[in-house]
Symmetry: D3
Subunit: 227 residues, 6 copies
C-alpha cells in the first residue's frame, strides 16, 4: 500500500460487460443500488455537462505539482479504462491538458478522474474527452518525482482499487468495487425498471405519500397536520 516507484502491469479488471453496462444507470442509481457507499466527495465536478461514462479504473499516484507519472500511466491504459489520479497532498495545479488527452484517447481511455486541477478545458470539451476534477487551473507541472501506477489510491476521499468500476456523470463519481460490480449492475437495472412505472404515476398527480404508503408511518411517528 502506498508503494512509490512501482507500476503494476497486470491488474484484475472487472468484467467489461459489467463495467460497460453500468454507464446507462448513472452515478445516483448505481450509488443507491450499492447501499449508498462508494461516492467520491461532491467537490468532484465534470468540466462540461452531459457526459455519462463507466469503465475500469487504472490508478496513478502523483506528487503535488508533478505530472511525470501521467505519461507512465498512459502506457497501462487499455480500451474501456478510466484513469483515476490521486495526489499525495492537496494541490490545485493543472496536471492534464489536450496533449495528454490525445494520448489517453489513442490508448482507449474513456475519461479522467483527478483530485486536483486540469487545463485546456475548452479543447478537451471540443475533443469530447470528459474529466471530473477538483478544479480547473492553467498552472502546469514539472516531471521530477516518482509516484506509482495501479496501486490502491484514495481519490477525493474514496478508496479505488485498480480494476474497480468508475461510474461518472453530472451528479458525480462513484467507485464500484470489482467484487460488487455484477450485483450492483443487477440491482441498478432492477431499480431503473421500477422507476419508469413510478414516474408515470407521479406525473399523473399521485403523491409519493400514497404511492409508497407513507401515511401510516408518518402518523405513527407523530406528524400533525394543522389547518
Amino acid at each position: 500500500m502506498y508503494e512509490l516507484g512501482v507500476v503494476y502491469r497486470n491488474i484484475e479488471r472487472t468484467d467489461s460487460a459489467v463495467a460497460d453496462g453500468l454507464a446507462r444507470y448513472g452515478s445516483a442509481t448505481v450509488h443507491e443500488a450499492m447501499g449508498r457507499v462508494g461516492l467520491l466527495k461532491p467537490y468532484m465536478r465534470p468540466i462540461y455537462a452531459g457526459a455519462q461514462v463507466s469503465g475500469t479504473a487504472v490508478t496513478v499516484l502523483l506528487h503535488p505539482g508533478d505530472n511525470w507519472m501521467m505519461h507512465v500511466v498512459a502506457e497501462q491504459i487499455r480500451p474501456g479504462d478510466i484513469v483515476v489520479a490521486a495526489i499525495s497532498a492537496e494541490c490545485t495545479d493543472g496536471y492534464f491538458g489536450d496533449l495528454l488527452a490525445t494520448s489517453f484517447m489513442a490508448r482507449g481511455a474513456r475519461a479522467l478522474v483527478i483530485d486536483a486541477g486540469v487545463r485546456d478545458v475548452k479543447t478537451l470539451t471540443e475533443m469530447g474527452f470528459p474529466v471530473w476534477s477538483k478544479c480547473i487551473s492553467s498552472k502546469g507541472t514539472i516531471k521530477a518525482t516518482l509516484g506509482s501506477v495501479n496501486t490502491p489510491v484514495v481519490c477525493a476521499g474514496m478508496l479505488v482499487i485498480p480494476g474497480d468500476v468508475i461510474v461518472a456523470d453530472d451528479d458525480g463519481v462513484v467507485c464500484v468495487p470489482r467484487a460488487m460490480a455484477a450485483k450492483a449492475l443487477e440491482d441498478a437495472a432492477a431499480r431503473e425498471a421500477n422507476e419508469g412505472n413510478k414516474r408515470e404515476k407521479l406525473a399523473s398527480g399521485v403523491l409519493g405519500l400514497d404511492m409508497y404508503n407513507m401515511r401510516p408511518a408518518l402518523e405513527k411517528a407523530g406528524l400533525r397536520y394543522i389547518d
Copy 2:
C-alpha cells in the same frame, strides 16, 4: 418556531399577481428595490443557466441525510409555489431527483431552492425543472425522521416565511417578505423603467461620472487625478 413534526396546511400566500410579476425583474433588481436585503448566500447556484422564476414559498425543514418530508411537502404545493428546503445541520447529500421533480411539477411547483445537494441534474435539466442548490451529489437519503412543513425556516442564511415570494435566476435567490412584496414590485418596475434610458446613454459613450453627476462628490471626497 422550529416546531418539528407539524404540517401547516393553510398559509397566507402573497397575492399571485405580485408573486408572479416579480420574475421578470430578476433577483438583482428586486434585491436592489428592497434596499439590498433578502438575498440567500451566494453559494446557492442554479443547476442550469437561464432559468428565471418567481413564486410563493412553501417551506420544508429536513434532517441531514433524510428526505422523508419531501414527500410530505409535495402534498402542500399549489400551482405557482416554489419549495424552499432547509436542513437542520450542514449536509451535502442529494435530497431530490427526477422522481420527486415529476411529482412537484404535477402539483404545479415552479422550482426548488435547497440548502443541500440535488441529483439527476441531467434529467432535471431536460425536464426544465430549475433547482438552486448548495451542491450536486449522487448520494441518496433515508426516510426516517420527522421535520416540518410550512414553518419559518432559515435557508442559506436567510429567513423564509411560508407565503413569502422567492425570486431566482442566474444571479442568485432573493426572498421577498409578503408584506414588502407589492412595494418591491412597484420599486423594481420603477428601477427597470429608469434603466433603459441609462443603458442607451452609456452605450453612446456618456460616462456614469457625468450621467450620475458624481464628479463634485468625488472631488469633495478628495479624489486626485495625476497625469
Copy 3:
C-alpha cells in the same frame, strides 16, 4: 503603493500588438511560456464558457460593498483594455452588472477580472462581455468611499501593474508583466508550433514515454515494473 484617492491617467501600456497577440495562445500556454508564474488563484472563473481574451490592464482598487470607483475607472479605459478590480478585503458582493458593462464596452474594454462578485450574468452573457470573478451575487453595492485607479493591485493573489497584459480563458487568468510580454509572446508561439507536431504523434499511439524519451530517467529514478 496602495495609495487611496488617486487616479493615474497615464500608464505605460504594453505594446498593443504584443498584448493582442497573446490571446490566441490562451492562459495555460502563456503561463507555461513564462516559466509557470503569473497565474491568478484558480477560484477565478468565467461567467460563461468559451471566451478567450487578452488586453492591457487598467486597475481599480475598491472597498468592500462599494463600487464607486467602477465609474471612475470607466473613464480611464481605452480600446483593448481589460479592467482588473481588487478589493481591500474579502467580499462577495455583485460590484458589476449590465449597465456598467454597457459603459465599459462603449469605452472599448474587452473584459473584467474581479476578485469579488458580479451580477446580471444572463444579460452579460447575451451581450458577450466576459467576466472572470470569484463569485456571482445579486447583492448590489453603495457608492461612498474612495479607492484608487491605475495603482498596482493584488487581485486573486497576483500583483497586477497597470499596463501589464491579462490573458484569460476557460482555464483561468494570467498576468504577464509588461517587461516580459514580448518574450512571452515569442515563447508561447514557439510552444504552440511545437505542439501540433506532438499532438499528431500522440494521436497515432506514440507514447509520451517514448516521444519525450523519458524511460532512461524513470529507470534511473528507480521505477520498477511488476508483472
Copy 4:
C-alpha cells in the same frame, strides 16, 4: 422583518432565572435537551477557551464593513444580555475591539456572538470578555449606514429573536427560543442528573452496549460479528 433603520427599545426577555440557569449545562446538553435544534453553524468559535455563558439576546443587524450600529445597540444592553450580531452579507472585517467591549461590559453584557470578525483578541482575553465569531481580523470598519437593533436576525444560519436565550461555550453557540426556554432548562437538568450515574458506570468498564441495552436492536438490524 428585516426592517432597517429601527431600534426596538422594549423586547420581551426570557425570564432571567431561566436564562441564567442554562449556562451551567452548556451548549451540547441544551442542544440535546431541545431535540437537537437551535445550533449556530459550527464555524462560530470562541476567541479563547473555557468561557461558558448564557444570557438574553439583544440583536443587531449590520452592513458589511460598517459597525455604526454597534454603538446603537450598546445603549439597549441590560445586565445579563448577550449581543447577537448579524451582517447583511458575508464579511470578515473586525467589527468589535477592546473599546466597544469596555462599553458593553459597563452596560452589563456577558458576551458577543458575531457572524463576522473581531479584533483586539489579546486584550479581550485579558479583560475576560468572551466573543464567539466567524473569524479574527485586524481590519476595522466605517460608520456610515443604518442597520437595526432588536429585530429578528439570522446569525450563522440560525434565527434569533430578541429576548431568546443564547448558550455558548467551547462546543459552540445555541439559541433557545423564549417559549422553549423553561422546558429546555428542565430537560437539561434532567439529562445532566442522569449523566452522572452513567459516567460512573462507564468508568467502571460497563459498556454502552449493555448500559443502554443496545445489543438486541443491533442484532435485529443485522449486525454480524466475525472472528
Copy 5:
C-alpha cells in the same frame, strides 16, 4: 471493502513495542521517515495543544448524524488502541463527548481520530483524552443505522487498515501501515539522532547552506546573487 453491518473482532495489530515507540518522534518525523506518505489532511486538528500519542488503529465507519457504532467499537478497544472514525459522507456533527470518552478510556483507548465533529471539548481537555477532529460542534447524533467496525476506512483522505499505527500530535495525524511500522520506527530514530547534532550547529550560527553543502547545487541550478 466497505462492508456494512459487520464487526471484525480479530485484527492484526502492529507489535506494541513498535506502535508505542513511534509516539516520541511525532508526526512530522515519522511522516518524513516514511518517505512523506501517510498524512491525514491538515484540516484534522487537536482539540487541545500538547498531546502527542501513538497506538494501534481500531476503525469505525459511521453514517452522517448517527453515532450508534461508537458504542459497538468501544467493545473492540484494547489498551494501546486509537479509534479512527470515518463517516460515509461529509458531516460536522458532534459524534463524541465526555460519556463516550469515559468508556473509551476505561477500555484503554489513547485517543480518537474522527473525520467529523466532537463536543464536550472542555471536559475532554480536563480528562486528558485527546481527540483530533475536523471540527467542534454541540450537535448530537441519533443511533439508527449500522456502519462497521474494523474494516478498512478512508479517514480525512487516508486509507487506514485496522492494526496500522496512528501517530498524532500538534502537527497532525499520520497513519503508518503495519508492514512499514518497524522500519519507520528505525528510520525515525535515525533521523532524530541526526537532528540533535544539526540543531547545535545551526544554533551556533552555521548556515544550512554550508552544513548541507547546498552551495554547489544552487550555483549549478543557476542561482545568482545580486548586490
Copy 6:
C-alpha cells in the same frame, strides 16, 4: 518582478527605530492608522497566542512542496528581520520546523510569516519563535527548484516589498510599506494616546453614541426608536 533564481543581498530596510516601534501598537491599530490597508488575509493565524512583533521584511518565494530557498533566505536575515514566505501556487505543506527556526533565531529573525504550512509547532512554541501561517501540517518538502530571495512577493493576498515593516499579533498580520512607516508610527501613537481616555469614559458607562456625538447623524440618517 517575479524573477526566479535571484537573491538580492542589499535591500533598503525601514529605519529600525520605526520598524521596532510599531510592535507595541499591534496590527489593528497600525492597520487603522494606515487608513485600513495592508492587511494580509485573515486566514493567517499565529501558531500560539500572545506573540506581538514587528520587524523588517526579508522575502522568499518558494514553489509548492519545495523549501530549498528557506536555507538561502536564512543567510540574508539580519537581526530585527521577519521572514515573509510566499508560494508560487496554493500549498499546505509544512515548509518550516524546529531546525530552520533554530537557524533563523541564530541569525536574529523575529518571526516567520508564511502563506502555507508549518510543523514542529510544539517545539516552536517552546522555543518562543512565533509563526503566522495558513495552516499546520506534518508534511515535509523537497529541495529541488529555485525560487528567489528579496524580490517583491504577494503573501496571503498582500504585496510585500523587502524592507517593508511587518506587524503581527493575535489579530493578524499587517504590512507597512517603507515609505509609509514613519507616518504610520506617528499616527498609531496618536490613536493609542487617544484611546486611553476613551476607554475610561466608556468604562464609566458613557455611551459611544454620546462620546462620539453620533446621535444627530443617526437621526439625520433616519434612525427611528420604537417603544
